[in-house]
Symmetry: D2
Amino acid sequence: MRLTIIGCGLIGSKRAAAAAAHEIVAVCDPDPDRRARLAQQTAARPLADWREAIAVDADVVVIATPHDQLAQIALAAVEAGRHVLVEKPAGRRPAEVAPLVAAARQHKRIVKVGFNHRFHPAIVRAKALADEGRIGPLLFIRGRYGHGGRIGYEKEWRFEPEISGGGELIDQGSHLIDLSRWFLGELTLAYGVAPTYFWPGRVDDNCFLALAGAEKRMAWLHASWTEWKNLFAFEIMGRDGKLTIDGLGGSYGVERLTLHRMLPQMGPPETTIWEYPFPDCSFADEFDNFVAAIEGRAPAIGDVNDAYANLTIVQAVYDRASS
Amino acid sequence: MRLTIIGCGLIGSKRAAAAAAHEIVAVCDPDPDRRARLAQQTAARPLADWREAIAVDADVVVIATPHDQLAQIALAAVEAGRHVLVEKPAGRRPAEVAPLVAAARQHKRIVKVGFNHRFHPAIVRAKALADEGRIGPLLFIRGRYGHGGRIGYEKEWRFEPEISGGGELIDQGSHLIDLSRWFLGELTLAYGVAPTYFWPGRVDDNCFLALAGAEKRMAWLHASWTEWKNLFAFEIMGRDGKLTIDGLGGSYGVERLTLHRMLPQMGPPETTIWEYPFPDCSFADEFDNFVAAIEGRAPAIGDVNDAYANLTIVQAVYDRASS
Amino acid sequence: MRLTIIGCGLIGSKRAAAAAAHEIVAVCDPDPDRRARLAQQTAARPLADWREAIAVDADVVVIATPHDQLAQIALAAVEAGRHVLVEKPAGRRPAEVAPLVAAARQHKRIVKVGFNHRFHPAIVRAKALADEGRIGPLLFIRGRYGHGGRIGYEKEWRFEPEISGGGELIDQGSHLIDLSRWFLGELTLAYGVAPTYFWPGRVDDNCFLALAGAEKRMAWLHASWTEWKNLFAFEIMGRDGKLTIDGLGGSYGVERLTLHRMLPQMGPPETTIWEYPFPDCSFADEFDNFVAAIEGRAPAIGDVNDAYANLTIVQAVYDRASS
Amino acid sequence: MRLTIIGCGLIGSKRAAAAAAHEIVAVCDPDPDRRARLAQQTAARPLADWREAIAVDADVVVIATPHDQLAQIALAAVEAGRHVLVEKPAGRRPAEVAPLVAAARQHKRIVKVGFNHRFHPAIVRAKALADEGRIGPLLFIRGRYGHGGRIGYEKEWRFEPEISGGGELIDQGSHLIDLSRWFLGELTLAYGVAPTYFWPGRVDDNCFLALAGAEKRMAWLHASWTEWKNLFAFEIMGRDGKLTIDGLGGSYGVERLTLHRMLPQMGPPETTIWEYPFPDCSFADEFDNFVAAIEGRAPAIGDVNDAYANLTIVQAVYDRASS
C-alpha cells in the first residue's frame, strides 16, 4: 500500500510505525518541525496543507489530527478515492460523521476508525472465546477506564470542546462504548451523566453510562480523568461464565484475560488466566486488518458505522446534560 | 445485657456467638429442632412463639427471621421496652419500617439494623481514613457485589417475594446502598433497574443502581446473583486519592484495603495496602457497637433510619420496574 | 475394596472419607473415643489393637499413626497379605523402611505412601506439562514450604523425636524432597542443614536443602515452621520455560499453576495461569491411584521405594548435623 | 561537587543524570561517540585516556567501566586525592580490591561502591523496619534474582571471564550477597555452586549460595540468567515477622514491600503492603548518600569494604568449582 499520513503527532507517528511494511509517500502537519521529523523517519514528502496531501497519489490516507478536523479530512479523502484510517471518534458529533458514512458507501471505500482497543490481544482473545460460546449468551458488561491526568492537563486541547467535542466521555468513554457494542450488539442510552469533578474547564472529566441492548443486556460503564491509579477493567458476563480483561500494559498494568467457567456443580468456577506482558501490538494489528479489508480478505473491525453509532450515544449524554 | 434471640437459623446462631459475653435468656423459632439446638448451646429457654419471647424480661431482642417478619416483631419488641438488633433490611418496604422509626423515637429505644458490612475491618479503616480527609472530599463510589448462587437456589425463601420483598437488590444490593450512604451521605435514585437474567422465579437476580448525592456525588452500584466468581469490590474516590476494598474473606477472597494517594507531581500514586486474612469479626464488633449505643457511649452505626432510607431507594427501583 | 484403617485421627478420617466408595470393615485406634467416632461414621468394626486389625479380612490396610509405628504396622500388614497405604514418611529412618521395601517385592503387594501432594491438581497438571516437554529438559527446582505453627505447637507429638523422627525436615521438608525427586529423578544431598530457630524442643524447625541430580540439576529447597505467613511455592525451571505452583488452598492461598514459555525472540514469556479454588481432592485422587495400582491399571504414584529414597536424604541431613 | 565520569555507557550516563545537581567537569571513554554524546549532554570535557581524566581537578571520580578496569582506575583516583564512586563489584577478585581498601583508609577518601539496590525504596524501608526491630531478631533470608538474557547475550562482554570476572554470580548474585550482608551482618560461604545450564561460554549462568552467619543465620540465595520471567524476590524472616520485597520496577514488576507481623494468638499475621510504582530513584539517592559521606554527614552505605567481603564470597564459590 502507498500511504499518506495527516497529523504527525504521537499517534500519527505510531500509525507510521505500524505501517512500516508499506510505503509512506507523504506526511502532513501544519507544524513544520513535526512534519519534518516524520518525513525524515519515513522518507516521505512533507506537506503543510491537508488538501494537498489528499491529492497525492496514494491508496490510503491515515488521519490523526485533533477531533475537529477528522471528519472533514476523511470525507475529502474518500471523495478523492482513498481508503481511510481515521482516528476515533472520527468526528465530534454524529451529524459530522453522517456524510462520511454515506460517502464510504457511495465510493465503496473502506473507512476504518482507529478503535485500536479491539486489537489488544486480551480483547481479541476474549472476543474469540465469546464468539465460540465459551461463556454462553452474554448478559451484561461492566467497564471501568481511567487515568489521573497530569500537571497542566487542563491546558491541553482536549479541554477545548470546540476542538475535542467533549472530555472524558468522548476520550476514553468512547472506547468503552465501542467495546460494549462489539460484544453486546446495538445499544442505546438508558442513563448517562458526564460530570466535572476536578479539572477546571468546560468539559466533563467523568462519565457514567448505562447502555441497554436486546434481552435486557446492559453495559454498565464508567470512565474517569480522576482515576488516580490508572485503570482498565472490562468484565463480560455470560450465562455460563465470565471474561475479565484487566490492564492495557504500561502504567495500566499487565494486560490480562481471565476466563471463569461455571461448573455443573456451581460453586467456585474453573479459572484460566492469560497474561500479555508484551509491547503494544494493537496499532500494527489494526493496520493489518485495514489492509485485509481493502483487499477484501476480511471485514474492517471498527469502521465508520461504529463511529456513527458511538457518537450517537455520546451526543445523547451531552444532550441530556444540557436539557 | 440480657438477650432474647428470635430466629435460630444461621444468622441467629452467629448473633448468639457474637454476644457470647452476655446472657442469652430466651431463643425463639417455630422450628423445634432449631430452637432446641440454639437453646442447648446458649443455656437459654426455648420458645416457639415470638410474642411470648418478647414478653420475656430482657434488655435486648435480636431478630433474625425472614424479611416478612422483621418489622412486625421489631415494633412489638420496642413497644415492650426492648432495645432491638434487627437484621437488614428491617422490612420489605419503607412503609413497613416507618412505624418502627416512630416507635424507636417515642420509646427512646435503640433500633440497630444488622448492616454488618460496616464492621468489616477493611471498611472500618476505610471510613476512618475518609473521615480523616486522607483522600480529600469524596467524588464517587463504584461498588460491585455478587455471587453465583448454588444448585437449587431458586427454591429458597429469597425467591418468594412475599417473604423476601425482592431478590438481589434487597439482598446484597442493600449492603451496597448502605455503605454508599455511609460514605457519601444522603442519596437518591437517579437510575435503577433490577433485571432477571438467569434464575427462574419472580424476583430480580441483578440490580444496577445510580444513586446521586450532593455536589454531583455518585454511587455507581451493581449487585448480582449471576456473578460466577464471588466478588466484593468497593471503590471510593476522593479529590486527593482513592480507597478500594476487595474481598470479604472466605470465597470472596482475602479482605484487603488499598489507599492510593495522589502526589503533588501527580503520576503514579503513593500506595499502601492492608490485608485482613482473619476470621470474620463483623458480628462481634457490631454487637459491641449496639451495646455501646444502648449505654450511651457511642452512636449506633447503621440504625432504623438508615434502613428506612435504604428501603426507600429499593422501592423506587421496584416501582420503576413495574411502571 | 475392603479396607481396614489404623489410626483414627484427622488424617485417618480423611483417608476414610476419600475411600467412601469402598467398604471399611475395621477401624483401629488405641483411643476409644477416636475409634468409636470413626466406626460410627463408617459402620466399621472398632478395634484397639493394630495386630488384631491387620488380621481382619480386608484387601487394604490404611495406616495413619504417628511416625514411630508406620513401618512396623505396614510390614506386618504386607506379611498378612494386605496392600498398604501408609502415611508419609513411612518410617523415621531408611533402616526402618528397608524391610518394608523387601516385603512389598517379595509378597507382590502394593505399598503406596501418602505423598498426597503429588495429587494436588496444580501439581498433577505441572507434571503432565513437564512430561509433555512443554518447558524442555528440566534445569532446577526451587521449593519453599512453611507455616508458623500455633500456640502450644511445641507440646505436640512432632516435637518428640523418638516418635516423629525429626521436625520440619521430616514433616513438610519430605514433601519438597518427594516432589523434587518426582520431577528431577534421583537426587543426592549436596548440602543440608536443619536448624532450630524458634520452637523450644529437640527437633529442627527449619531445613535448607541442596539436592543434586544428573546434569547438574538442582533442587534448592527450604521448609520452615517459622514461616509466619503460610506458604507453598514450587518452581520448576526448564530449558524453554518455567512452571510455578503457588498455594495449596485454605490458609496457603488459592492453588495456582503458572506456565511461562520462552518465546523465540526471548523477552517477556508467554504466560498462562490456572487456578484451583476447589476443595482438596488430593486424598480421593490418591486413593483412586492406589486402587488402580492394586488392579494393575496404573503404577502407584509415590510408593515405598520413594519413601526409602526420601528418608535416605533426610538421614543424611541429620547425620551431617550430628557429625 | 565537581565530578569526572569514567565510562560513558548506559550506567555512566545514569550516574551523570543522578548527579545533575553537580558540575561534571570531564567524561572519559575510549569510544569517541560515547564520550562525545555524554560530553554534549553534560557540557563536560571529553577525554579518551582515564589517566588524563583522573588528573583533571575534581572532587569526585565516578567509574563505570567493565569489571577488569574498575579496581585499577579507582586506586589511581584515590591516590590522586579523589573520592570515588565505583560500580560494583569494584573488581574481579578480592586481591584486586585489597589495595583499594588500604588506599581509601590511608588517603582518607570515600570509596563508595555502586550497590544501588540498597537505595531502592522498598529495600530502604525494609532496612529501616528491620533496624527498628519490627520483625524481631533476624533468622534467615531467602533471595531469588534473575532474568532470561536476550538474543545474542552470549556475545556480550559479561561472557568473557577475563573482563567480567565471572557470570551471573558476580553480576546479580553479588547484589544478593550484598543485601544479605547488609541485613544479616558478616556471612561466610557454607555452600555454593555456579553451574552453566544454558548459555554457551565460559561463565556461570546460575548460582546457588548458602551463606552462614552468627547464630545459625542463613542467607539462602539463587541468581539466574535462565529465569525466563524476570524476578526479584528478597524475603527476610525475623523472630516476630517477615519482610518481603518483590519487584524492582519495569520488567521485574512493581516494587513492593510486604510486612507480616506475627500476632500474639499466632495464626494469620497482620499484613501491610507498600507499592512503589515510581521511576527508579536508586541512582540519585545513592549519589546523595555519597555526597553526604564525603561531607561527613552520614556513613557511606555500601563501600569498598563491602565490596571486598562480597568478592571473598564470590571467589570462594569459584574456587570450590575449580577444586
